[in-house]
């Protein structure tokens, strides 16, 4: 009969143990019972801060976290273990269950340490460890934001986690204050010089740093939290986050009489065994060699050891690499090896560039031949290559390695590393393992490497190295649009722009291969349209378009189409409403108010479309481009014309924006909104470009999205006049159109942009690339060249002739399309799918 392993805690390390055991225990000698205090399957705590980008817990869930279909694993979520009886070898859970074990593994992790500050238990005070913590912080932050002005928050602790928390708070729209007791930020990882630069860079990002001080008391005052610091400063706050270190969760072990360390942590030997041979402890709750490791990589190593031991192996802890690299609000910080030069005779080579904002230090042995460690602040591109060189002979003079030669450390490449050098420290994957996966295993991209070696699946900082290794092994990294074009969309855009090519045939003949497909054809059609090549159905262009663009309407599940006339800013007269109503009634169309402040008419057949549009165009409507990767709507609130809070005319601006950018073809659809004041009734921050009125002008936000991965837009410029606003939007949109990938919304484009929002601002506001005049001119062309697409079809008999259901029976309606009634309107009768033809 199978023996039973009980795992207490389903965090990153506990999950890894179960995975490792299931991977190796081919014979099925063990069954695993997991008890988890948290109510959701194991998730990526290292990436916790990114939860703020999506608020989607599933985005963080670890691979295979639910052990679906594995009957050897029983996962009990939301049921914590409350007691261990070592004599009886059972655990008792909060729900009262008693479970026997043969072997017990404790993976209870750690808990945030809350310093004894008076008032730390007030509502509005939080810790930062779990998804639930972040949800609670968000609740408080949202309540804060209903007040006027920007909310403020204090983070107690300026270490790695404290800065992550500050980033999350800033992304939630609060102004963070970071209070650190040590004289500098991240005292464990960086030295004084690096700390000084880090403070400067972080403060440039709207985070106030109070170093060398601490909070003594937090008081509640009329719904606000007032924090008093030892240096006399008082902060007026909406919320507080404690992030002042962690404490191993060893209470359960303590109560069961297991040995715990003087400063906490369940004491284990190098095989991760506790003082009871039937009990292991791993991850952040374990104390190994007198140390508690607060990083995931040593925890993973422990999980692998225990899996090995349970199956009769004798693995021991190999020692841990405490290197860290993070990118906080666009600021790189990396620290590796003996960063503080504690080794006897160690030498430091420092390169501090205050102008560029980079600090680089290498620690080398006293003969300057061996790399011991280092600190990089401001630019950590070389971390990936330098870290694996720790303890090895330097390939050159340390000074030359630090010189910022073209951004890469004087030519240190992965090529210089020996096979045993660790590339992914989170998952302990060496250069040799990765090369083998590429050369022997046939992994030819990062996704496959991740799946096959686990490298790159945790913190992600080694992914650039994986790419380099692919290149070193002779695998070309594909940015190809599809099998017909080796170029990316952005490259094709440049080719078309520079060469002036006007047809797909010409482009694929000169720069591609084959005849094209449903990926490259619409993408090229969009590029041609962005650069102004006449009607989208002119000549060959018609054959490139997806059905929606080809029939200038949106296909529906039964093969009919929907009709969406443009209603700029959502403003419409009763007369026009009546026209829409009349057309809908005459053609029997289902009508619905859309989420984009306009009206959608559903159920038109291909041959009805021209007749419907003739009536709409005659009444002054034009295409709403609901079918195109193009500007959709500019939503608006009522604004200062009617609303008692409005400070500017939001409807007027929305109408102007919609008319300016209507018809603009882009890599993906574009949405916008204008709100008349900070209450934001038009939801502008969920849009690709959103405008919010202030007393003195307009704030422009970009990169928002409300779809699958919601993202709040980032503030690009504030309090500008309308002329400046239009100029910046012109540039922003054209820059996006030039450089984005196919079907990449502005949100993901901005997220992927090197240098992020700051870089975008450099380009479209400061004109760092000298492109702005060109971008504006291009937009001016678009505005001048705009013509309504539906009017264009109605005026051209040849284009009109294509709107027939049947080539041999024009005018005959498609007999497969039938309707039934629901809530007083016509809806499609669902079509069956044909029986599959057996072959």
């Amino acid at each position: 009969m199978a023996r039973t392993l009980v795992v207490v805690g389903n965090g990153m390390v506990g999950h890894r143990l179960v995975q490792a055991l299931r991977d190796r225990d081919a014979a099925g000698a063990w069954r695993v019972v997991v008890f988890a205090e948290e109510a959701r399957p194991a998730y990526d705590r290292v990436a916790l801060t990114s939860y703020v980008d999506t608020w989607n817990p599933l985005a963080l869930q670890l691979d295979g976290a639910e052990f679906d279909g594995d009957d050897r694993v029983e996962l009990n979520l939301g049921d914590a273990v409350v007691g261990i009886d070592r004599q009886a070898r059972t655990v008792t859970t909060a729900s009262g269950r008693v479970q026997a074990y043969d072997t017990l593994a404790l993976a209870t992790g750690s808990a945030p340490f809350v310093p004894p500050v008076k008032g730390s238990d007030l509502p509005g005070c939080h810790v930062y460890r779990t998804i639930d913590d972040l949800d609670a912080i968000r609740d408080t932050a949202e309540r804060a934001r209903t007040g006027l002005g920007r909310g403020a928050a204090m983070v107690v602790g300026g270490g790695l986690l404290g800065l992550e928390a500050a980033k999350a708070l800033r992304d939630m729209g609060l102004s963070p204050h970071v209070v650190e007791f040590a004289p500098r930020l991240m005292p464990l990882q960086v030295d004084e010089g690096g700390g000084a630069l880090l403070k400067r860079l972080i403060e440039e990002l709207d985070v106030t740093v109070h170093a060398g001080t601490t909070a003594t008391v937090i008081e509640e005052d009329r719904g606000r939290l007032i924090a008093k610091l030892t240096n006399g400063v008082e902060l007026d706050l909406d919320l507080v986050v404690f992030s002042a270190g962690i404490r191993p969760r060893d209470q359960l072990a303590r109560a069961a009489g297991l040995t715990v360390g003087e400063r906490g942590g369940i004491v284990v030997d190098s095989g991760c065994r506790t003082s009871d041979p039937h009990v292991y402890a791993i991850g952040e709750c374990a104390n190994l060699d007198g140390k508690v490791y607060g990083l995931v990589a040593p925890g993973y190593a422990m999980a692998e050891i225990v899996a090995d031991r349970i199956l009769g192996g004798a693995a021991t802890f190999p020692g841990a690499d405490m290197s860290t690299k993070l990118k906080l609000m666009g600021v790189d910080v990396a620290s590796f090896g003996d960063a503080h030069a504690t080794e006897e005779g160690a030498l430091e080579v420092v390169f501090n560039d205050a102008v560029k904002g980079t600090y680089r230090k290498l620690v080398v042995s006293n003969d300057a031949k061996t790399l011991l460690g280092g600190i990089l602040v401001g630019d950590a591109n070389d971390y990936a290559t330098l870290r694996p060189m720790v303890g090895r002979p330097l390939p050159g003079d340390p000074g030359a390695l630090l010189a910022p030669a073209g951004g890469s450390g004087g030519g240190v490449g992965v090529g210089a590393l020996p096979d045993e050098a660790q590339i992914c420290s989170c998952n302990a994957v060496s250069k040799g393992d990765i090369s083998e996966a590429i050369v022997v295993g046939g992994c030819d991209d990062v996704t496959k490497l991740k799946a096959c070696t686990k490298a790159g699946t945790s913190c992600g900082s080694c992914v650039p190295m994986l790419k380099q290794l692919l290149t070193v092994c002779g695998v070309e990294q594909s940015k190809a649009l599809c099998e017909h074009f080796d170029q990316s969309r952005a490259e094709l855009f440049e080719i078309v722009r520079v060469t002036g090519i006007t047809t797909f045939s010409d482009l694929i003949g000169k720069h591609g291969s084959g005849r094209g497909c449903d990926i490259c054809k619409p993408a090229v059609a969009s590029i041609l349209a962005s650069l102004g090549n006449g009607h989208i159905l002119a000549g060959e262009q018609a054959s490139l378009q997806d059905t929606n663009d080809r029939f200038l309407a949106n296909i529906q599940r039964n093969g009919t189409y929907s009709v969406v006339p443009r209603i700029p800013g959502g403003e419409i007269t009763p007369e026009k409403l009546m026209v829409i109503a009349q057309v809908a009634q005459d053609y029997g169309l289902y009508t619905k108010i859309t989420g984009g402040q306009r009206i959608d008419l559903f159920g038109a057949t291909v041959d009805q479309l021209p007749g419907i549009w003739k009536r709409l165009v005659d009444a002054g409507f034009e295409s709403g481009h609901a079918y195109g990767k193009a500007l959709r709507t500019v939503k608006s609130c009522v604004g200062s014309t009617w609303c008692r809070y409005g400070v500017q005319d939001s409807v007027g601006l929305a109408v102007e924006l919609e008319l300016r950018y209507r018809g603009l073809r882009s890599p993906h659809k574009l949405k916008s909104a204008v709100s008349g004041c900070a209450r934001e009734c038009a939801e502008a921050r969920g849009k690709d470009f959103g405008v919010i009125a202030t007393e003195n002008g307009w704030n422009l936000y970009v990169g928002g999205n409300g779809g699958m991965m919601p993202r709040h837009a980032d503030l690009l410029v504030s309090e500008v006049d309308k002329e400046t606003l239009l100029k910046v939007i012109d540039r922003f949109l054209m820059f996006y159109i030039r450089t984005a990938d196919r079907l990449q919304r502005t949100s993901t484009w901005l997220d992927a942009m090197e240098g992020g929002l700051d870089h975008l601002r450099d380009v479209v506001v400061e004109d760092s690339l000298g492109l702005c005049a060109e971008l504006e001119a291009q937009m001016a062309e678009h505005v001048k060249g705009y013509a309504d697409e539906w009017a264009g079809v109605l005026a051209d008999p040849e284009k009109l002739a294509r709107f027939t259901s049947f080539v041999n029976a024009p005018g005959t309606p498609d007999p497969t399309i039938t309707f039934r009634e629901e809530r007083g309107q016509r809806v499609p009768v669902l079509l069956g799918t044909p029986e599959v033809i057996a072959r």
Binding site: E483, H484, S505, G514, R515, G516, C517, D518, C520, K521, P522, E540, A542, S543, L544, Q545, D546, T547, R550, F551, I555, R557, N558, G559, R802, T804, S805, F806, V807, N808, A809, T812, D814, P815, T816, L830, L831, G832, T833, P834, V836, I837, R839
Partner: protein, 114 residues
């Protein structure tokens, strides 16, 4: 050996009524819908018009192209590709759509019926 029924060639439409690299739908007297495609080299193919994945009668409105050299149409609904020569779905070979014999005579498209 069974005797083959004689193929009757029915006139569908002039070749010119299909633009290059596009498709049209044709309605047969028995109500069958056929998607007829004209590729870049003026070759003509005919498949059943129903998309077997969504059930909608729309294949004629898909984008034409080639996948690894195979001439295909992509369903306008969810983009599965069908081999224009055989009707087999390239993305899932257990699925296919019917094919019909076609000819072009004197710039007129004829559909073969048995």
């Amino acid at each position: 050996m069974t005797a083959l029924a004689e193929t009757v060639w029915v006139e569908l439409c002039p070749l010119e009524s299909i633009a290059r690299e596009q498709g049209v739908a044709a309605l047969l007297p028995d109500g069958t819908q056929v998607a007829v495609f004209r590729t870049h080299d003026d070759a003509v193919y005919a498949l059943g018009n129903q998309d077997p994945f969504s059930g909608a009668w729309v294949l004629s409105r898909g984008i034409l192209g080639d996948i690894a050299g195979v001439p295909v149409v992509a369903s306008p609904m969810h983009k599965q590709h069908f081999d224009l020569r055989t009707g087999v779905c390239v993305d899932d070979e257990t699925v296919s759509v019917p094919t019909y014999p076609v000819r072009v005579v004197d710039a007129t498209i004829l559909l073969g019926q048995t």
